[in-house]
């Protein structure tokens, strides 16, 4: 182990051997040729003035940033996957100021659905969890991590980004193909077996999507459903965040049940805000929101579990009718009896 303080006086050869990503730091500054026999200090001393100008750093700042880069990347490599076992929601008040009598612990591996009328505060609850609210949001809720008040550094530090979010408004904006995009993401996570993970995510995304896509499809050409499917597969397999918040992804033409199962299998706590009956019943627990407060917590019963299949069938029938109309079909007796009969 090279001691951090005097890393700057080690030869680059040694540093590059130990921290393979160290070269990226120089490349990102436009410095492609590195003399391995020099120490970081001496190397910084020899860098051309024009190069420094373009990098926007002087020699001293370059060394400081280089050392910070190494320690930050090391911190990043340490997985934050197992740092969260549970979160606890401690009630605040609803929109009328009435106390919300809640003390609810949610564990990793659970699926929680959130239901309630439009404007009732479902997205607000997800937002409270996302920012680990400490009675500092309009709801005055407090969120605990592993039963404790999260320390301030955990709240701020990016290495410990605890929450991944998926919502209907989110789109891919990068001008890349599916595989290039996954490669970038994998590199930023410093994953070793990049080809394998690309393959896994693409095939997983395809299992979830209605229509198939291949790894050379440009991201921006994916349909809404395909984008959502890829986002879920990527979040499950590449994102470190142990908590996943999903805000209204229904109607996206994806295999919802498989998608949720995939996330749970990866040891994540999944919260879904939804108006969709099938998704609502996928929660082990269902939080009912009214006037900005959690008004009821319902545990999924055996009876409800049994009815999910039937709801899914009805849902599929409605979907078929939609496709039928979309492709120029008309509604007739046969279609209606197919819908109402069993």
């Amino acid at each position: 182990m090279l001691a951090k303080e005097d890393l700057a006086s080690f030869k680059l050869e040694q540093i590059l051997a130990k921290y393979t990503y160290a070269r990226d730091f120089f490349i990102s500054l436009g410095i492609n040729e590195i003399d391995p026999n020099l120490t970081v200090k001496d190397f910084a001393g020899e860098i051309n003035y024009d190069v420094l100008e373009d990098a926007g750093l002087n020699r001293e700042q370059l060394i400081v940033n280089f050392l910070a880069f190494i320690s930050r990347m090391e911190a990043l490599k340490k997985s934050s996957r197992n740092v969260v076992e549970s979160i606890t929601i401690i009630g605040g008040n609803d929109k009328f100021g009435n106390a919300e009598h809640i003390n609810l612990e949610l564990k990793v591996g659970e699926v929680i659905s959130i239901v309630g009328p439009t404007g009732s505060g479902k997205s607000r609850l997800l937002a409270d969890i996302e920012c680990l609210a400490q009675r500092d949001t309009p709801t005055n809720r407090q969120i605990l991590l592993n039963g404790e008040v999260p320390d301030i550094n955990k709240r701020f530090s990016m290495e410990n980004k605890l929450v991944a979010q998926l919502s209907q408004n989110m789109n891919f904006v990068m001008d890349l193909s599916v595989q290039e995009f996954i490669r970038f993401h994998a590199e930023s996570r410093m994953v070793a077996n990049i080809e394998t993970i690309i393959h896994e995510i693409v095939s997983c995304g395809n299992e979830l999507a209605g229509e198939k896509f291949d790894q050379d499809t440009p991201l921006t050409q994916l349909s809404g459903g395909q984008s959502r499917a890829l986002m879920i597969a990527d979040t499950a397999l590449l994102s470190l965040s142990p908590i996943v918040l999903i805000d209204e992804i229904e109607n996206a033409g994806i295999d919802r049940r498989n998608a949720i199962e995939l996330l749970v299998k990866e040891e994540k706590l999944v919260l879904i805000s939804t108006h969709d009956p099938v998704l609502a019943l996928m929660g082990d627990k269902r939080l009912v929101i009214k006037n900005g407060g959690i008004s009821k917590i319902i545990d999924l019963s055996e009876e409800e579990k049994y009815y999910i299949d039937i709801l899914e069938k009805v849902d599929k029938k409605m979907l078929n009718i939609r496709n039928h109309l979309r492709t120029g079909g008309v509604i007739d007796d046969k279609i209606i009896s197919g819908l109402t009969g069993q």
Binding site: L57, N65, S71, M170, I182, M231, T235, S239
Partner: protein, 227 residues
């Protein structure tokens, strides 16, 4: 008086983020002033006035806005002191990626947005590389993976900075920023303080008003493209 410099590319969300953070600070009854630097015009002062903070606008016209900033910051701080402000925030659009308004020991914030493309953190220069806090906005409209890749690129460019994710529209994340603002160093004057990075020497013949094309007219600090 606490002094904070906020910079970032145009439309990255600077005004939105500052306003959301100020809304939290107002709960502490702080007297806050904003100096808005821009090149030709701005409507930001209207937005700032609306939330009840004191605001002054400086338009740089035909000079680099950051050079203009540097020659005026001392007076701006004097103004802030005379208004008895608890906090003075400067907002300047980094139009020239090479200059940056960040001053040593004065809390320096750079605002970048997720839509600007993953190569942006590399391109911005000292404005991003030497900031203490990098705020990343517009995460609400891109995928989780793109947020993660973008943040990684920011970390590569500025490994020292704290990164704060803020939604400029809902204000999500702005509370965290407001806590950082409260920790900013206090100064009564910035006279004799130093920039974190030099601003490029504007001393070629075109700086001094020449408009003719051709080698023979070019004098001073000149760099030629390698073709």
């Amino acid at each position: 008086m606490k002094i904070i410099t906020v910079s970032g590319p145009p439309s990255s969300g600077k005004t939105s983020v500052i306003i959301k953070a100020i809304e939290y600070l107002k709960k502490d009854n702080l007297e806050i002033g904003v100096i808005k630097f821009d090149s030709l015009s701005t409507y930001d002062d209207v937005l700032y006035k609306k939330i009840g903070v004191k605001v002054k606008v400086g338009l740089s016209g035909n000079i680099c806005p950051d050079h203009y900033y540097m020659t005026n910051i001392e007076d701006c701080v004097k103004w802030g002191m005379s208004e008895n402000l608890d906090m003075l925030i400067s907002e300047s659009a980094g139009l020239c990626n090479r200059c940056s308004p960040h001053i040593r020991d004065v809390l320096a914030i750079c605002v970048v947005d997720n839509l600007s493309g993953i190569n942006t953190p590399k391109k911005i220069g000292p404005m991003l590389r030497l900031a203490d806090i990098v705020v990343i906005t517009k995460g609400d409209i891109v995928s989780q993976a793109e947020r993660e890749v973008f943040a990684f690129r920011v970390k590569q460019s500025n490994p020292r900075a704290s990164i704060i994710f803020i939604n400029g529209i809902t204000g999500q994340g702005a509370y965290d920023l407001s806590l950082h603002l409260k920790e900013a160093n206090e100064y009564e004057s910035v006279t004799d303080k130093k920039l974190r990075f030099s601003m490029p020497a504007a001393v070629c013949s075109y700086c001094t008003g020449d408009i003719r094309i051709g080698d023979k007219y070019q004098t001073g600090n000149i760099r030629k493209i390698k073709l």
